[in-house]
């Protein structure tokens, strides 16, 4: 189990590194997809099947596709080969190392890190539990409905921006 975790963690981190260093935009997108798959595999290792599937359905199936569409629509040269790093990369690396060290020390003192998750009672279906929690008023009912409003806001925002762009395009013509 531990070996599998190390393999998937290495895949996730390695491909995440490739995302920021690779030269072609579209390659970065596909490396990002590898990263997302790696995270899904980590969820599956934890027996969190629902999270793993949501990771793939939402991130790989929708957001990554959106990224690729955006790259293909906006980049004139798909073989865009600008340098992925600018001259400030040293400072950026220093700051990210510092924040990593800060998080590490914080998490080391956190008790949740060493706690073992309690065993699930036999015969409990986690999906049913999740569904019940989502619509029970004293659990997550409000976030559930707010999520829907948030999605509505996202859709309206997208329509507004797209409409604006469309009008601009027509005005240019």
């Amino acid at each position: 189990m531990k070996i599998l975790f190390l393999i998937f963690a290495a895949i996730t981190l390695g491909s995440a590194f490739m995302v920021v260093t690779t030269k072609k935009m579209i390659h970065a997108a596909f490396w990002l997809i590898t990263t997302l798959f790696g995270v899904a595999a980590l969820y599956a290792l934890l027996n969190a099947g629902f999270m793993a599937m949501v990771q793939i359905v939402v991130y790989v199936g929708a957001i990554a596709i959106l990224f690729i569409f955006a790259i293909m629509l906006t980049r004139k040269e798909m073989l865009d080969s600008a340098a992925p790093l600018n001259k400030n990369w040293g400072i950026a690396a220093l700051f990210s190392l510092l924040s990593f060290a800060g998080l590490y020390t914080l998490l080391r003192n956190w008790t949740g890190f060493s706690n073992e998750a309690p065993e699930l009672a036999a015969g409990v279906d986690t999906i049913t539990e999740l569904g019940t929690a989502l619509v029970t008023p004293d659990a997550y009912l409000l976030p559930f409905e707010v999520a829907s409003v948030l999605l509505l806001a996202a859709l309206i925002g997208a329509v507004y921006v797209a409409n604006d762009a469309k009008n601009q395009q027509e005005a240019e013509k």
Binding site: A52, L73, E129, L130, G131, T132, S148, I156, A158
Partner: protein
């Protein structure tokens, strides 16, 4: 079975292996006589015109955006659907409100002409 995802992981492995084997056998058995004309990009029998990159309709992107919103919505609805028969009646209405709010978004996009293919 401790973790059913172990089986899925092995399935992914085999599912990758079989097509790779098919392509490898094809690569070994097939002839290899490349030349410039054979490897040129196909374009109805003439030399390719211009860049291989074509301008895409921004419409594709808008449909992908609308899809993303609905995709996230359905993910929320799956646990609701699974546990519905064990919940009191008002849970049904909560789900219905959730769907109606998003259908309102679809109607808005529709009225704004975002679902037109122009």
């Amino acid at each position: 079975m401790q973790n059913p995802w172990m089986y899925v992981g092995l399935f992914v492995l085999v599912g990758l292996l079989i097509p790779v084997a098919a392509i490898a056998i094809g690569a070994i058995l097939g002839p290899k006589k490349p030349n410039a004309i054979k490897q040129s990009t196909y374009e109805c029998g003439i030399e390719t015109v211009g860049d291989n990159w074509v301008q895409f309709k921004a419409q594709y992107y808008i449909f992908a955006l609308v899809f993303l919103v609905f995709d996230v919505e359905t993910v929320f609805l799956f646990p609701w659907a699974v546990s519905l028969n064990k919940l009191p009646l008002f849970a049904v209405f909560e789900g219905i409100i959730f769907i109606l709010i998003l259908l309102a978004g679809l109607v808005y996009a529709w009225k704004k002409g975002m679902l037109e293919w122009v």
